[in-house]
Structure formats: structure tokens, C-alpha cells
Subunit: 509 residues, 2 copies
């Protein structure tokens, strides 16, 4: 039966002259396309470089680099995990490295490393293969929906040609350094690696993120093939309609989900000052506990304007060492953030182990303000529920405790607070025309919030609705919830899926 390696394994070739002829035209097209994309600046192109060792990937990419304007081509090379990377979900470093729209990234040691490593084992673990495949396909689909196009090049040749190539380089002392230990090991396990390659391609080839096999036995044909594949990708940006929808992230929603219609009732604090100190003391201890040293926390604060987010956050941070937390006030994305998928700026703010990241408004802006104010399309915000569930699940799997608070204020109390703010010389800055406009859309925001709870109130990253007309009670409730979540860490041992995945990556590269 035909397979994707068939042509490459015949080790086809072309003459230098044939190649030159074709390359003249291809190079011209590549430069033109690169500039068109820079001008439009609506799509990033990521070129994933894959294939066995010792097939000439490096040289091919060096050549590609000489054809393009190198100021707009970024080499994204991933190797052993750094300390910072090891404290975050496996996909963190790939998200972090995304180039801006219009730019091109060459990816080495990509998000395929773990999957390929598993498939290369004598007996791959089907559960792991499923998990990695799922993560990869979701990642690439969500990127494609948001203007990041992924082209994947698989460099391949016959077993015979691979070992001939290495032997030829080794024979000359001045080229022997080009051959690594890994290159030499390929021959022995060629069959297994080949099978893993075929499976990787079968599992992750998508119209929006295609694999292209590059015949690599002959450098002329190899170069022409690379140029052709890249040019084709550059000329055909991905439309959202072409994206193959990924499987939704399997989440357990809480039943019934949190709802503004049935907010919980809290007894009013009888001795606020004493209770505040008590819970702050416990928070201070919990953060310094041994259990938290390999865990982190992300706190999300959402709610209507003037619901008391800032004041609540300050009651938390008063009990924390400044070195252990970061507050991220989230407003409209800035000019740099707008050149990346919307979750990018949140990925970049994920906490280290031992740290708490506090989001004063968050990635939920996508399904709240962006939806209500029509700053994005319905297709985008509808898809965001699933993107967010996947994002938070990756956080949780990495040992990050995710708690989400909706501070809920009544319409009357909000009006009172708006008026207070307008009349205070210290708070006037907190109230703008936007706040009044948002208030006029109270019902629309409420509906958006209800949908959000229905779709994202998960067991791993639950929503907490906190009635906040009484500020003190609300603050105590949030403090208590955070403390209890931290204290519970002592009693649970989370099976960290992600570090395992990361380890795989390390073994591989």
C-alpha cells in the first residue's frame, strides 16, 4: 500500500542545474510572499522541522534562512527544560515563543518530541499517545483559528542513504563533526523510527497544519522541496473555515454549575477585624508550607465594575510576601498582545512554583466584554469556552491551583458605589464613561456571565460566586476559600501529568 514515505525512500535526486532553475523562481516568490505577509500582518507562519537525525535538517534550514529576509525569521529551538520551563505546563514554552503576526518561526525540538518519543518505544503506551496527540491537535487548531499557521516538514530518506550520508561525512576529519552520536544510532533502529514517523504524521496531519515529507537523500531536490512547501504555505494563509475542529477538552462541569440566579448566602461577619487577621495568618502560613513549594496558584477575579475586586485582592496580598505574588490588572490588549492569539498574554503570566498569580480581570474577558461589546466574532468567543477549559486543565495538571471568583454586586449597590466614587477625590479615577456604559448593558453582561458559568465551572477550576454588597463578608469568604484550597494541598498528592510529559520531551531532545 502507498504510504507518505514512499517517494522519499526512493532517494530521488535532481541535478544542480535543474535545481538552480527552479530555485530562482521559488526564491523570488518566497521573498515576495514574505513581504506581502509582513505588510498584511494577519498571520504568523510556524515551520516545524522534524525527521530522523542525520538527514540534513540543519543544512536545509540554514539554506532556507538565506532565502528569506532574516530580520523577520525567528529560530525557536527547544532543548532541555530550563528551571523556569519545568515549573510551567509543557506547552508554556511554545506559547511564550510565538512570533508576531507577519513573522515566520522555524521550530526545532517542537511539541512533537514527546509524542514521537512515545511512539518510538517498543510498546508505546496508548493512553500517553492519545494524550499527546490530543494536546498537539488542539494546540495547532486553536492557533490556526487565530492566525497562526503551522507547516510541518518531515525530512526523510532511505535507511541506506542515511547511513551512506553519515559515513561520507565521517570519512573526512573536517566534516566528521557534523555527525552526532544520535545520527549514528539512527541506522540501528531505523525501522522503529520510521514506523513512529508514519504514525506521528497519520495522527496529526490536518488540512490546516499539514505534514510535508521532504525527500532528503539529494540536497538539490531537498532544497527545492523545502522552498516549494514553504512558498505554498506562505501563499495560502489558513482561513478559520478550513480548520478541522479539534475534540473538545474533556472536562467535568460542576453540577449544578454556579449561577447568579442562586448565589450562596453567607452569614455576616461578627468580628471582621479579628476574622480577617485570623485568615490572613493562615494564608501566610499556607503559602510557606512545604506542599506549596512544588505547586502554584492562579486566582481569577471577575465581576461587575465596583464589585470590590481591588479591595479584596489587597486583603489577600497584605498577608503575602511581595516576592511570592504578582497582581496582573487586565485591560484591553496592547499593540504587542494584539499580534498574538488572545491567550498568549495569559500564558506569559503563569506563576512559578511557590507563587500566586492574581488576575484582576482575566482571560474571561473573551466571553464577557469581548462578546458583549462585539469586539470579537461569535465564532471566536463561542470557541473560547473550550480553549479556556483546556488552558485551565493544563494549569491544573501542572500543579497550579486555579480558583475563580465572581464578585457579585446588586444593581442598586453598584449605583451607590459609582456615585461615591464620583464624589471622592481619591476614587474619581476609578469611574469612567465606560463604567456607566457597561452598567447600561447590565442584562447582556449578566447573560454572558451565566453562559460562562454553565460552560467553565469545572471541578479542576471552579467558579465561586461571592455576593459582594457587603464588602467585608465577601473579602472574608474569598480569603477563606483560598486558604482552604492551599491547606488541602497537604492532604492530596496530585498526579502531575504535565511534568511527565515534559520529562519525555527532555529524553527526546
Amino acid at each position: 500500500m502507498a504510504h507518505v514515505f514512499q517517494f522519499a525512500e526512493r532517494d530521488p535526486s535532481m541535478t544542480a542545474e535543474q535545481a538552480k532553475q527552479q530555485l530562482d523562481e521559488l526564491r523570488h516568490g518566497l521573498l515576495l510572499s514574505q513581504y506581502e505577509r509582513l505588510q498584511k500582518a494577519d498571520q504568523t507562519l510556524l515551520i516545524v522541522v522534524a525527521g530522523m537525525d542525520g538527514v540534513g535538517k540543519g543544512s536545509a534550514i540554514n539554506t532556507l534562512n538565506t532565502w528569506l529576509d532574516p530580520r523577520h525569521v525567528h529560530t525557536l529551538a527547544f532543548g532541555e527544560l530550563t528551571e523556569e520551563q519545568a515549573m510551567r505546563p509543557a506547552m508554556w514554552r511554545y506559547w511564550n515563543a510565538l512570533p508576531a503576526k507577519g513573522q515566520t518561526g522555524l521550530v526545532f525540538g517542537s511539541w512533537y518530541a514527546a509524542l514521537m518519543h512515545e511512539l518510538e518505544r517498543k510498546k508505546p503506551d496508548p493512553a500517553k499517545v492519545d494524550l499527546y496527540t490530543h494536546l498537539i491537535n488542539r494546540f495547532e487548531a486553536h492557533l490556526a483559528y487565530q492566525g497562526v499557521q503551522v507547516l510541518k516538514l518531515w525530512f526523510h530518506l532511505s535507511a541506506q542513504a542515511q547511513s551512506t550520508r553519515c559515513a561520507a561525512l565521517l570519512a573526512n576529519p573536517d566534516t566528521a563533526w557534523r555527525v552526532s552520536d544520535a545520527d549514528l544510532k539512527v541506522h540501528k533502529k531505523f525501522k522503529r523510527l520510521r514506523k513512529a514517523g508514519l504514525e506521528t504524521i497519520a495522527l496529526s496531519h490536518r488540512q490546516h497544519a499539514p505534514w510535508v515529507v521532504i525527500p532528503s537523500a539529494d540536497e538539490h531536490l531537498r532544497d527545492v522541496s523545502v522552498a516549494r512547501a514553504v512558498l505554498q504555505a506562505m501563499r495560502q494563509p489558513i482561513l478559520p473555515s478550513q480548520v478541522v475542529e479539534p475534540q473538545p477538552f474533556p472536562v467535568s462541569l460542576r453540577q449544578p454549575p454556579s449561577s447568579l440566579l442562586k448565589p450562596p448566602h453567607f452569614a455576616k461577619a461578627t468580628d471582621y477585624d479579628a476574622e480577617l487577621l485570623h485568615w490572613q495568618g493562615r494564608l501566610s502560613r499556607a503559602v510557606r508550607s512545604k506542599a506549596f513549594r512544588n505547586r502554584s496558584m492562579a486566582l481569577v477575579f471577575e465581576g461587575q465594575d465596583a464589585a470590590g475586586k481591588g479591595g479584596t485582592i489587597r486583603r489577600l496580598t497584605a498577608a503575602l510576601d511581595v516576592r511570592n505574588y504578582d497582581i496582573h490588572p487586565i485591560s484591553a490588549p496592547d499593540s504587542v498582545e494584539r499580534t498574538r492569539p488572545y491567550l498568549w498574554r495569559f500564558w506569559r503570566k503563569l506563576p512559578r512554583y511557590g507563587e500566586i498569580a492574581i488576575f484582576d480581570r482575566s482571560w474571561y474577558g473573551r466571553v464577557l466584554v469581548e462578546r458583549v461589546e462585539r469586539l470579537t466574532t461569535p465564532a471566536h468567543w463561542r470557541r473560547a469556552y473550550d480553549e479556556i477549559n483546556g488552558f485551565e486543565a493544563q494549569l491544573a495538571a501542572n500543579g497550579t491551583v486555579v480558583l475563580k471568583f465572581w464578585l457579585s454586586v446588586s444593581k442598586e449597590e453598584q449605583l451607590k458605589r459609582f456615585q461615591e466614587r464620583e464624589n471622592s477625590p481619591f476614587k474619581a479615577y476609578k469611574i469612567t464613561d465606560d463604567d456607566w456604559r457597561n452598567r447600561a448593558k447590565w442584562t447582556a453582561y449578566r447573560r454572558a456571565a451565566q453562559d460562562m458559568f454553565a460552560q467553565t465551572d469545572t471541578e479542576t477550576a471552579p467558579w465561586h460566586i461571592v455576593p459582594s454588597d457587603d464588602k467585608k463578608t465577601a473579602r472574608l469568604h474569598v480569603l477563606k476559600t483560598v486558604v482552604q484550597a492551599l491547606e488541602a494541598l497537604d492532604k492530596t498528592t496530585l498526579e502531575l501529568v504535565e511534568p511527565a510529559l515534559q520529562q519525555q520531551v527532555n529524553d527526546q531532545v
Copy 2:
């Protein structure tokens, strides 16, 4: 004799009512000033928080945070070194964290930690004290010249008041957590800490970066004092003319310095291909040597347009693993970079150990294009020689090998290459009106280059002038120079000043 702690050690106080009265006005002024600064966006304010433990620094700063619009206040807290930080010069993390113009940063665990730690010893090492003082004063002066204002708050009270404060908090189980071990130890060594504080202030108080002592025994007076100091700083941005010029960085210039007037002569390569492979092989091995694991390299490429920088860089990278280098093409600073001192974007690109950072144009733009095109003032570019010498010396002290190449092409050869580029469909993008304009200013650029060599050709970070009319000879010479510098690492043990400094910081925080 009067000293700066005299007033604070009387533990002065004020009533809550007195404080409220003053604070109403101060807070109003703070908000107004903050918005004015945001609007103008020409100065960053850094507020350094210092003083003994257990004097209420944290509470005071929390309070300050409630007075300002928190969206534009950044807490910069530095603790134990992370792996990434430990691989860079000590000042790296402070440079990295600089907020944009218009913004305010609250700095905990600042660049004073190492100095204070040394001064607190029974017998401070005068050489270390000098070194740290010098680094600090240069850092703050260079920031001030470029619109980063530093205000330093020293929280202080009497020994008696400090221990009374701790005892009161400890007496209540719900506030006991506020007292750390460090707080309790203060009493015992109060005298020594106090002396260290006095000396720190004496060594680093500058008109452009003043220390203000905050009496901290009484929270009302403390808060009023903080508000007053911050407001005064916000209202009086620093003018370059007010900056106390720091001591120049002591560098050994090479004698005679490299000069375009006497470029070296290289024999033409007889067998380019073989030599190229040979030196690439040695480069490949040298980068993987044990000696390079705790070292890094920064390569600077400057020279006229079309001098062959790109081609030379590609001959280097062809021998390197993509995971071990980064190429940084440097052009005009972008909108984010323009909101920081000009060296900021280069600090952010410093290599990890084991890595090579390649700068295709560099920080020398300040004294080349910015000077010639009058993009900055003469005062700024004249000062830049010293700033750059200090920057490179910090790199070298941290184990980074710094090599600087000036690729020198003749005016005739440049014309030939420009014309070739214009006639090639693949190279036309490389030639713009700017290139022709620069060419018209050949003499001005040459003069700027000569001055640059005279001022920055140091033993620790030497310039190499590489005649480049013959591209191949130039490439081989650069390769060889890089290889020899790397191979020499095996034979030298650098005394790393900076890690020592960093360790001090760690001990302290």
C-alpha cells in the same frame, strides 16, 4: 553630631486626625501627579524600599498602593536567584524589570542588598564595598540620565520601638505571623545594622537618587512621610543637568587601539572550502567543551552596509546547534523599547551559559547611527562610551566572552555590492534608500567609528577590524578569532566577580 537617623530615632508620632488631614491633600496630589506622569510618559519612577526587618515596610507600601492607581504601579520584588538570573550579571534582573516611562515601580530586595550585607559584617571588605558602591552609583546615575528616577526610602525607628512593635504583634496569635525570624533577630544586632544603614546612605545618597528616612515607630507619621516623599519625587522629575556624574568605569584600553587607518592584513585563503570546514569543526567542538558550560559568548558585528555581516554570521551558525545560539538583528528600537533606557533591550538579550548571542548591529548604534543621524544628543552619545564599557565589563566579569568585529569594506567594493544587490531579484530587499544615504555620509560614519575604537577597544571586550573586500578571507578570520577565544577558555580560570556579588544578594534576602 547630627545624623540622618536622628529624627526617626526619637520615634515621633502624630494623631490619626492630624494624619488624615494631611493625607487628604497628599493623596489628591499623588493621584494627580501619577496621571500627569502617565500622560507625559517621559520618566519612570522607581521607589526603593529599604530598612531593617520588622519596621513595617510592607504595610507602608501596601498603603501607598491603595493611594495610587494600581494599574500603573509595578511591584518589583527580588529574592533568591533563579537559574536564569544566576547565569547573567548581577544587575540583569534589575535592568530586565524596568517599567516603562510614565509607570511607577516599587522595588524590594533591590540592588542595595549586596552592599548592605557587606557593611553589616563585623569587618566589611573595603574592596567589595567599593565595588558595590561603584556599581550602584553608576546604575542609578545612568538611569537618571535617561529618565528613570530613583527615590529611596529608608524605614527606621529606635531599637526600643522595633522590639516593642514585634512583641506587640507576637502577643496576639492572630498577628504573630506578621513577625518573621528576621524581624526578631534585628534587636540583637541593631547597632551593627544601624551603622550599615548610615554608611549605605552616606555612600549612595545623590541629588538625583536621594535617600529619605521614614520615621516608622508611628504608623500615622510613617504613612504621611511616605506620601510626602513620593509626592515630592513625582512632582520633580530629574533633569539630566541635575545628575551627579558617576566615576567612569575603569577600563584598560588596548594600546594602540584598533583603527581603520591601520587595518591588519590577512593572507588570502588558499583553500577556502577546506579551511572553512576545518574552523567550523573546531567551533563545533569548542562550544560543546566543558569549559563553555559555565560561560557564554556575545558577538558584536558592526561595519558599513554590505560589508558582509550576514554572510559571516551564517558561516558561524552553520557549525552550531540551533539550541545554542540566537541571532539578534538590531534596527531602530520599537515602541516598547523606546520607553526604556537604550541599553535595556540589549540587557534582555544576554545569553545563558553555554549559549552564543550574535548581534547583527548592536548597542554601538548609539555612537554610530544615532550620533551621525542626530537621533540623540551629543551628551547622550558621549556618555554612552562609558556606559557601554561598564556594560561589557559586567558581561565579562560574569563569564561572557565579548568579541566585537568591525567588517570593513572599501568605498569602491561597497558600491559594487550595492549595484549587485539592486540587480538581483533575491537581494534587492537588502538595499534601500537608507543605504545610499548612509553611503553619502561615509566620512561621518568613519569618524564615528574611529572615536568608538578609541574609547571602547578594551582588553576585556576587544574590537577586531576585519578587512572585508575579500569576503572569504574575512569570514575565515572571524571564525578563527571566535574559535581561539573559546579554546582559550580551557586554559584560563576567570575569577567571576559577579556570581560572588550575586551570592551576597542571596544571603541577604
